[in-house]
């Protein structure tokens, strides 16, 4: 067993420790709850904890399988996210072929490019080639009705669900001096920092939050935001041993990912409000869809990737 594998196992067991604590906490609360009084808050919490068990198990297994496992997991996450997104967007029959291409050509190609580490290609493939080519396919069918809306919404779907999500596995293609094959651990770092920061942001926001960041859009508060940010930076600093960033660098990278993640999930909330839905789908019990669960990671990934590339390679 090499050091990367043992680090992944250590992180997995650490996460399982946190999950066991959360599960035990829930069970104690449930045991103290009178049987005849339903408590929806507690039920939601327990379903969420169960979904987290699944997530940790999936991501842990994928990390242990190495590159093929990670690629498959995130390609599937992209597929599920794109499906949720395009179910809600404006489209006409004239877009059928371009949407089919988005699912069955653009998405797999992006992951092939990421898998081979062709940086020059996967960073421009969607924003240049897909964005220019797919509207042509739609235009050829000759239906101008709400054309710009249809094209723009499809492009946002690809940007968020494929381009951004694929930047998580793209972290593996970074060649960082003295870090070697350990770059797979950057994925664990990003996901843990952002998701735990999210969770604590939610917790503090509920507990002591007063000033809404964007009233009418989301219950997120500035108090929750700052405490979540500090928590993410502390967690990042504590996890600095799996990164090439050093103590201060890890805290700053975690902070950057957390800020982008929090405001990214505001963007996702705005899109949901615009489309009049509460959740993107119902694929993950208690959490909604893949986009609901991953919104902050999705936005943080490309920025985290670019910062790492700029400062550490």
């Amino acid at each position: 067993m090499n050091s990367t594998t043992s680090d992944i196992l250590l992180l997995a067991f650490g996460s399982f420790g946190i999950l066991i604590a959360l599960t035990v906490l829930g069970e104690i609360l449930r045991a103290r709850q009178p049987v005849h009084e339903p408590n929806p808050m507690l039920d939601t919490y327990m379903t969420r904890v169960q979904s987290w068990w699944g997530m940790v198990a999936f991501i842990g297994a994928a990390l242990l399988l190495g590159k093929p496992g990670i690629m498959m997991l995130f390609a599937f996450a992209s597929f599920a996210a794109l499906r949720e997104f395009l179910t809600l967007t404006t489209k006409a029959q004239a877009d059928h072929l371009s949407l089919a291409l988005a699912f069955f050509a653009v998405l797999p190609l992006q992951y092939v490019f990421v898998g081979f580490g062709w940086t020059g290609l996967f960073t421009v493939f969607i924003p240049v080639y897909a964005f220019l080519f797919l509207p042509m396919v739609s235009a050829l069918r000759g239906n101008p009705d709400r054309f710009l809306v249809r094209v723009a919404e499809t492009q946002w779907a690809l940007m968020i669900a494929v381009f951004c999500v694929s930047h998580v596995p793209a972290l593996m293609s970074l060649e960082i001096d003295g870090y070697g094959d350990r770059s797979v651990l950057l994925i664990a770092f990003l996901v843990m920092v952002v998701q735990l920061g999210d969770l604590l942001e939610y917790f503090f926001g509920r507990r002591i939050g007063r000033a809404r960041i964007a009233p009418g859009l989301s219950p997120k508060t500035w108090e929750g935001f700052f405490l979540g940010l500090i928590s993410a930076m502390v967690i990042g600093a504590m996890l600095n041993w799996i990164t090439p960033f050093g103590l201060v660098g890890a805290a700053l990278m975690a902070g950057a990912a957390s800020v982008v993640g929090t405001f990214g999930s505001l963007v996702v909330a705005a899109i949901k409000r615009d489309k009049g839905v509460k959740d993107w789908s119902h694929l993950i019990p208690g959490q909604g869809g893949f986009v609901d669960q991953l919104d902050s990671v999705i936005f943080a990934a490309p920025v985290f990737y670019q910062l790492t590339k700029y400062f550490y390679t």
């Binding site: 499906r83 395009l86 179910t87 809600l88 404006t90 059928h96 949407l99 089919a100 009049g276 789908s281």
Partner: protein, 213 residues
């Protein structure tokens, strides 16, 4: 041989269900009824040939075993494969709509109800290829409701299938399909056929997921 065919039918049925789930993540929304085995007639909108397999796929196993889709014999007996899938995988009640045929569709439907089966029917009669959400209902639903008033008639809306597979396209889009089950209705005493069909059609339209801008 019979055993083998039954086994094959089960395998094909499961494959169709898994395929539908994998591509469209099809899910049921139990708005007006509980997913419990009870005799019901699910009446649904009909925009694509995939409607019936979608409804069938979201029913829990106990309900799937007792449900029989009512379908056109001319479609399901066209070739050997369909003749296997329709009657044996989906356990369809095949009705012949030609007027010169002796066994009337309604007799077969009532017979299926009397043996305790639930039914899936498409009261528009044909696939809806228009821009209207529903075509006018045929009288069949009313006749069933009058003949067997105790059976629950459940409005069932299948959403997004037109976008998943518009007419004339070859590749299905993997969008999310939702099947919404509404509150059951019954033919009320003294209610005329037209009034009931109007009420049934409204009840079905009410199950549409909220319209998006």
């Amino acid at each position: 041989m019979k055993f083998l065919r039954q086994f094959a039918a089960r395998i094909v049925g499961q494959s169709i269900r898994i395929f539908a789930r994998a591509i469209t993540a099809v899910r049921a929304e139990w708005k007006g009824i509980e997913p419990v085995p009870r005799q019901r007639v699910y009446f649904a909108n009909h925009t694509s040939n995939a409607d019936m397999p979608m409804i069938w796929s979201v029913l829990p196993p106990a309900m799937r075993r007792t449900v029989r889709p009512v379908a056109a014999a001319d479609y399901w007996l066209k070739n050997k494969l369909r003749a296997f899938v329709g009657p044996e995988v989906f356990n369809c009640v095949l009705v012949d709509r030609r007027p010169e045929v002796k066994d009337k569709p309604m007799d077969k439907i009532i017979a299926a109800l009397d043996e305790g089966s639930s039914l899936i029917i498409f009261p528009e009669g044909n696939r809806n290829m228009t821009d209207d959400p529903l075509l006018p209902f045929k009288a069949g639903l009313y006749n069933m409701g009058v003949a067997r008033p105790e059976v629950d008639l459940v409005p069932t809306w299948v959403a997004n299938l037109t976008e998943i597979m518009p007419k004339g396209e070859v590749i299905p889009l993997p969008l999310i399909c939702t099947v919404t089950f509404g509150e059951p209705i019954h033919v009320q005493e003294g209610e005329s056929k037209d009034d009931f069909l109007k009420r049934a059609s409204d009840a079905l339209l009410a199950q549409r997921p909220e319209a998006r801008p």
